[in-house]
Symmetry: C2
Subunit: 185 residues, 2 copies
């Protein structure tokens, strides 16, 4: 699988339409992955994301220690994987043992193979720094590098006519991305 | 058009999959509407949303004054409307003059007719209160009431087999919601 580097000012276009994500991280010899739907861009350039990561998760514990994470976008074929890593804990078993990963380009984070794009991120604002953010488990992260599967990146965005993103509705139900439409300017 | 009240613990299911939204507000005799894609749930019950509202917009000025807003979910037929209210300013012309609205159930906010659901919200945490939020124009709002078009609400979520949400990819391009899939638990 060949990857294309996504220019940082276009990174928001990977996540703007609200797909489910997989969040992975490593702290020393401990690594993990979970699902996160509550991820959205909050700035264009340099790109920043807001991410809610529950304080009870093992991934959160590792991110609090390492300060780095990858946010990647699964495609339709990974809906079951997304549901599974989102409903089991890395504190109980090594979820990455059965999942193919490859190393980040810039950060020491495992990237999940088969996704359509990968965003390597550094924690910019931890929930610990602010009362409201602490209550909401809300992170702000800087995207420091991003890449996409060559087959699915087309100059200015994801080619959603060739791949479908999954969007969690709740309770294990997902809606897939469908047809694209252009509004008149 | 008949509406159903959406129980507050299920409100996140209106927005969880990342649709584009219309944000409307009123302050005294000034009212306005804009488009916002950067809206996501950040808590379930009571429901809270994170919303990015650019400080240069007229809607933001009114919300800063009134502390209340409605966040509503347009459907496919409103993609052009969404693009238009998202690319023109209420400081230049009264955008609501040509748009049918009806009053909020609980708050003094105009709700846009033809949407599939409406969330009436109070500002809980204004960007002014925090350095990071100020830089990002990031609000946290409490949803105090929510309703959905009867035709599109089915007990626990939006019936996405009967209506399509629109998701802004960037640059006036939208992807529609497509097929739904259920992951095995």
């Amino acid at each position: 699988m060949a990857r294309t580097q996504v220019p940082l000012p276009l990174v928001y276009r990977l996540l703007n339409h609200g797909p489910a994500t997989l969040v992975s991280t490593r702290d020393g010899d401990r690594a993990n992955v979970m699902a996160a739907q509550w991820v959205m861009p909050v700035d264009f350039d340099p790109p920043k994301l807001a991410v809610v990561l529950d304080r009870t998760t093992y991934t959160r514990k590792l991110i609090d220690a390492s300060g780095v994470l990858a946010i990647q976008i699964p495609e339709r074929a990974q809906a079951q994987l997304t549901q599974e890593v989102g409903s089991t804990s890395g504190a109980d078993r090594d979820k990455l043992a059965a999942i193919e990963t490859f190393p980040g380009d810039v950060l020491d984070v495992p990237l999940v193979a088969g996704c359509l794009a990968w965003l390597e991120c550094r924690v910019a604002h931890s929930p610990a720094l602010d009362e409201v953010a602490r209550e909401l488990d809300l992170f702000v992260v800087d995207v420091v590098a991003a890449s996409a599967d060559d087959r699915y990146w087309r100059g200015k965005g994801i080619a959603l006519d060739t791949v479908q993103t999954i969007h969690h509705l709740g309770g294990g139900r997902y809606v897939l991305s469908g047809e694209s439409v252009e509004a008149r300017r």
